[in-house]
Amino acid sequence: MRPLTEEESKVFFEKLVKFIGKNVTLLIQRKDEPYCFRIQKNKVYYVSEEIMKRSQNIPRDSLASLGTCFGRFTKSGKFKLHITALDYLAQYAKYKVWVKPQSEMSWMYGNNLLKAGLGRITEDTPANQGVVLFTMTDIPIGFGVTAKSTHECRKLDPPALVVYHLCDVGEYLRDEETLF
């Protein structure tokens, strides 16, 4: 367990900014408790400093998780967000997409979101923007990247792609072996 290096921080926060924009600062400067990012076995964890300090007692090999896992660094140095970060992403997301009930399951099986399943979308969402997806009852179910801007979406045919799939909550079941 160690803090992120400068290089890592840059890659990491660039990725995070795609989804939550300036709200990243809210993650670091919290009013309630000091929180920090720590890297452990390639995975980045967001954790309160007290828990971080306590966890330093646990041998590095045996420490399986602390706080919330945001994602991991690949071997090539890129950062990949995990579905476990969804809680915080949903909390601070700038752009949101709501999915119609009939398309929820399709999304949770790892498919892209089509226009037919698009319930609502934040105004002025640009194309290629990271978005968090919600059910119509405001339960976050994943995140992805828009294929078209809000404006373009209005004219699209039902089978047209709207949001590319990145992560969905179905991964808790599908990828439990590899994810954790």
Binding site: I51, A64, S65, C69, T137, I139, F180
Partner: protein
């Protein structure tokens, strides 16, 4: 002749040759119907079928050849009958070609001849079917399978003599013996029971169980003169093990825990599943909202009365483990009994809590929910594979105050100490969850109990040492198992009472059976009455045991300590371990004694082993915890 055929049929059934032939007649029957009307005497289905291809094939092949073929085939037919029916399927394929001549006589002849042929085959096919059925049922109940088979055969062959049936049954039994090794034990037991009881079936065994229990409950009046209680109990144990499929040792264990009448209820409750329960995750939703959402998805549910967060699922149209709410972490599937230790632990916000054996995280996430995601929650589990599901559940349910370690629980005061509360849901033999995993009925033995009790005692002591008695809010340790033996439960807690400065406090759960204060020849501390047991038949939840301990002081009596430095040295001498196991394997009655003995020898050995190097002990140690740990290091 009839006898011969039957034997033949049995042979055919055994070899399962007819598998190919079986579908053939059916197909042909369909085709045969229109043709059958032409023929004056409606021939058996099989025979008529060949007549259908007549017009087509007649064109292709000249008549005389087919006649010759016919004769040859007929001869073959007879030989086949006498020897074996392996070629049956071929025969009938050939029949198609044979029947290309249109002579009525020939046709009729073949009909009659073939009728016997056909008949025989038919018999064989059925025999085969019977066999199949039996194989399906084998796993469940041998007895029924045999009966069913004999019934089938009887229906088909009215004139079969009873001798033949016996023969077939014997052969059948043999083949099954070879096939299923698992069933051998049951079979033997049944065989014994049968020979003694002159072949009485399961309902009769059940009836006898009831009768014996009735007699035992009113022993003075209803006993037969000269029959001892031990004889009755022996009979009862044997019958229960026959009827419910338990090992005799396990039946014995339960008969010691429960009065006979209650024991039967318990065994019967283990045959049915407990209701499916879920726990609403208060970190993300409220029980009321969750219930509404699930009802909208077509789930029939009802809140659990004694819990704030539990829901019982009665009926569901969707997979309860794959709804959007589940994946979003609004609830977790968790048996009702595993709410109990957390309720007893009653963690408060901003405390430091340790869950020593956490996977798969049902209790851990419940603790986090009760702490409202504040403070520090350390979840530990020794098994690396199970850690994954623990981490997955922690993240899915949005627990943010947890750190997960993959350590042996016994490393705990060394790695980290001074907790406010600690939950030890110790690994156990699992005798409370037989309805979930029926394999326990046969797979567990006394040896498992002994190894488990050993690690349970160590885990509990280390848990107690990990907790700070001076904590302003806590100093609480909760010990729980999903097993029912007194050795794994009361005896372990009693051991901890002697070894550490702790007292038992009320679990604050207002239902449950009181713990044992004395059991057979051992007497426990009277305060063990405050611990709670839960049974499948009384509470309709998995069997469970919960004890809540309050730490009085951090002092360790007898000058011995599991503190950071000497923690490793607490390990028991392997010699005493094997000794104990040897003596105990003889009789289960003395098992409790042995464990007490073991406890004494353990403490005696503690001082002796202090000097030894821990690594040596790891090498010698037979305990599976050592093994798993070593494996992990590799």
């Amino acid at each position: 002749m009839a006898v011969d055929k039957k034997i033949l049929a049995a042979a055919a059934a055994k070899k399962q040759v007819a598998a190919k032939a079986a579908p053939a007649p059916q197909k042909k029957v369909v085709g045969a119907k229109p043709v059958a009307t032409k023929v004056s005497v409606p021939p058996p289905k099989k025979q008529t079928t060949p007549s259908k291809p007549q017009p087509k094939k007649a064109v292709k092949q000249p008549e005389p050849e087919s006649e010759e073929e016919d004769e040859e085939e007929e001869e073959e037919d007879f030989s086949d009958e006498e020897e074996e029916s392996t070629n049956k399927s071929n025969l009938f394929e050939d029949d198609d070609e044979e029947d290309e001549d249109e002579d009525d006589e020939d046709f009729n002849n073949r009909n009659t001849k073939a009728f016997s042929d056909e008949n025989q085959k038919w018999l064989k096919v059925k025999g085969q079917e019977g066999e199949d059925d039996d194989e399906d049922e084998e796993d469940d109940e041998e007895e029924d399978g045999l009966e069913a088979q004999s019934r089938l055969i009887k229906q088909k062959k009215d004139k079969i003599e009873s001798e033949n049936i016996d023969e077939i049954q014997k052969e059948h039994k043999k083949s099954i013996d070879e096939e299923d090794k698992l069933d051998i034990e049951e079979e033997k037991e049944e065989g014994e029971a049968q020979s003694e009881l002159m072949g009485v079936d399961l309902p009769a065994v059940y009836q006898r169980i009831k009768d014996v229990i009735q007699t035992l409950e009113n022993f003075a009046k209803e006993r037969k003169q000269g029959t001892t209680r031990q004889q009755y109990m022996g009979r009862l144990a044997q019958d229960i093990s026959t009827y419910f499929g338990y090992s005799l040792w396990l039946v014995d264990v339960f008969l010691k825990i429960f009065p006979v009448g209650e024991a039967l209820e318990f065994f019967e409750a283990n045959e049915t599943h407990r209701p499916l329960t879920i726990r609403a995750n208060t970190l993300k939703t409220r029980r009321k909202d969750l219930a509404e959402a699930l009802i909208a998805r077509g789930v029939h549910l009802e809140p659990i009365k004694w819990s704030q967060v539990g829901l019982t699922i009665y009926d569901t149209q969707v997979a309860i483990g794959a709804t959007p709410e589940y994946l979003a972490g609004h609830y977790i599937q968790q048996s009702a009994s595993s709410f109990l230790p957390v309720l007893a632990l009653a963690p408060q916000p901003n405390e430091r809590v340790l869950d020593m054996c956490a996977s798969p995280g049902g209790k851990t996430t419940y603790i986090a929910a009760m702490m409202k995601n504040t403070g520090v929650l350390v979840a530990n589990d020794v098994n690396k594979d199970r850690i994954k599901s623990l981490v997955a559940n922690i993240h899915r349910l949005g627990v943010k105050n947890a750190s997960v370690s993959n350590l042996d629980g016994r490393e705990y005061p060394t790695v980290m100490g001074g907790f406010d509360r600690c939950l030890v849901d110790a690994p156990c033999v699992g005798l409370g969850v037989i309805s979930k995993d029926p394999q326990i009925k046969l797979s567990k033995s006394e040896r498992d109990v002994i190894t488990c009790t050993h690690s349970q005692k160590e885990l509990l002591l280390h848990a107690i040492d990990s907790v700070d008695a001076d904590s302003p809010t806590g100093g609480i340790i909760v010990y729980s198992t999903c097993s029912l033996t007194v050795e794994e439960n009361e005896a372990v807690v009693d051991y901890a009472l002697k070894k550490r400065d702790v007292k038992i406090v009320d679990t604050t759960i207002d239902f449950g059976v009181q713990g044992f204060t004395h059991y057979r020849d051992s007497h426990f501390h009277p305060s063990l009455i405050l611990t709670r047991r839960y049974y499948p038949h009384t509470h309709n939840m998995d069997g469970f045991y919960v004890a809540k301990l309050q730490k009085i002081s951090n002092k360790i009596p007898n000058g011995e300590s599991t503190g950071a430095k000497q923690q490793v040295k607490k390990r028991k001498n392997p010699a005493s371990d094997s000794e104990a196991s040897n003596t105990s394997s003889s009789e289960s009655e003395s098992s409790n004694k042995n464990i007490n003995k073991k406890a004494k020898t353990t403490t005696a050995n503690n001082t002796n082993t202090n000097n030894k190097v821990s690594n040596q002990k790891k090498g010698k140690g037979k305990n599976r915890y050592f093994k798993s740990k070593i494996n992990q290091k590799k």
